[in-house]
Assembly symmetry: C2
Homo-oligomer: 78 residues x 2
């Protein structure tokens, strides 16, 4: 079964590396990953915070948040 | 091409979640992931530190380190 997943980022270098190596490398048979640029889609920040995102880049897989390294605090994107 | 990757952990709950959802969900057509329990294999701590690991859980993909959330400082495992 393919599950919808989310990758939240802000286009920063740390984010780009995490997207390329981690988010884009998830098994397409397990996850369909939507990449959300919170700097360009500020209306999605509320959803991200509700999911538990405190910084970007971060993945949400099966409802669980995985912060990957540290690019920016989500508060800095508002 | 399948690349060798490493997942460093210490068996902690944060590590287990990251292994299940992230490390084990990487595309097997891209990465072959070796899972290394640093608490049980202290001789591997030097390699992990040399790779740039500062805390676990963490992935090393194509030589780049991705710390995932925070389970334990690597110094606490020595």
């Amino acid at each position: 079964m393919i599950t919808k997943a989310f990758f939240y980022h802000a286009g920063c270098p740390v984010c780009v590396a995490a997207e390329r190596n981690v988010a884009n490398s998830l098994d397409p048979k397990k996850y369909h990953v939507e990449s959300v640029h919170l700097g360009e889609n500020k209306s999605r920040i509320r959803d991200a915070e509700a999911a538990g995102i405190r910084s970007v880049p971060a993945l949400v897989l099966d409802g669980a948040v995985f912060h990957i390294n540290f690019g920016a605090d989500i508060g800095a994107l508002k």
